[in-house]
Point group: C2
Chain length 168, copies 2
């Protein structure tokens, strides 16, 4: 349940922009405006799945390394032609912007972030408590190959050419 | 957000009982009553994490093989002394009751269930779309050893002796 509107946001250190079908919905300009305006006051910005595609049109990712959902990679990358997209990555850190690949990759990205902020012991303990087997290598990404995601795009390759088919 | 009350539940094929701190809250008798009463009309009952501990006092798991959260295994098992607890398991299927281990294990259990109902191809496609690397072996469970979970309980072993410390 939403607890705040874009107009009444408390000071934020951290903003997570999720993906999902909502990231391809119409009328996202206010969302992009919000992210763009609040970014300078954030310590960290994180995206999961198509969250990177959602914010790419703001220009915040221009010239930065970033990743996103691999099943609809063509669509994701089309949202930010000036982004230095990384096709094969579980997650990517560039400055204070953390972008992760499709849905489940967000978990590994978040555990890495917890380790970065609170220490690797804390992150490991959390994962053991939640009985989660982490991928700790940000370069691990069999899904890029599976979905034919490359950058630059390979003509005729997979990766989905629109936002309609993806799951997240 | 809840959409129904226990008094106004439509016919259900499937019920998932999650865990979490709520499963150790006081006043759960109405929840247990609900699960016990609706079970005969279900096709499948699934629990995640301490969800199995939540429903164990109903007797529904008595004489059945079941599992649950490993960090607070002592507390989980104490909720159902007549359950045939399985310490080392990512998830356990006994009849039409699927119980899974701590938090993240619920994902592997659900993918296995999707495979069981809709076919393994469907489940695999879903996991590839969500960029999730499944554990497809229900016997895979490094967390049982990590938390010292055994059945019967080993005197002095770990696994947590109360419900206060667990995460899920």
């Amino acid at each position: 349940m939403p607890t705040h509107t874009f107009d009444k946001v408390p000071p934020l250190d951290f903003l997570l922009v999720p993906g999902g079908l909502g990231s391809r919905a119409p009328g996202l300009d206010p969302t992009r405006e919000f992210v763009k305006n609040i970014y300078p006051s954030l310590k960290y910005l994180m995206t999961v799945c198509t969250g990177s595609a959602l914010i790419a049109p703001t220009g915040l990712l221009d010239g930065r390394r970033a990743t996103g959902n691999k099943k609809i990679w063509k669509w994701v990358t089309s949202q930010g032609p000036n982004v230095d997209w990384v096709a094969k990555a579980r997650w990517v850190v560039d400055g204070n912007i953390w972008t992760s690949s499709g849905i489940a990759a967000g978990m590994d990205c978040m555990y890495a972030f917890v380790g970065y902020i609170w220490g690797e012991e804390e992150s490991k303990d959390l994962a053991m408590s939640l009985e989660y087997e982490r991928h700790t290598d940000s370069h691990w990404d069999p899904f890029a190959e599976y979905w034919g995601a490359t950058w630059p795009l390979t003509p005729g390759a997979g990766g989905g050419d629109d936002g309609a088919g993806g799951s997240g």
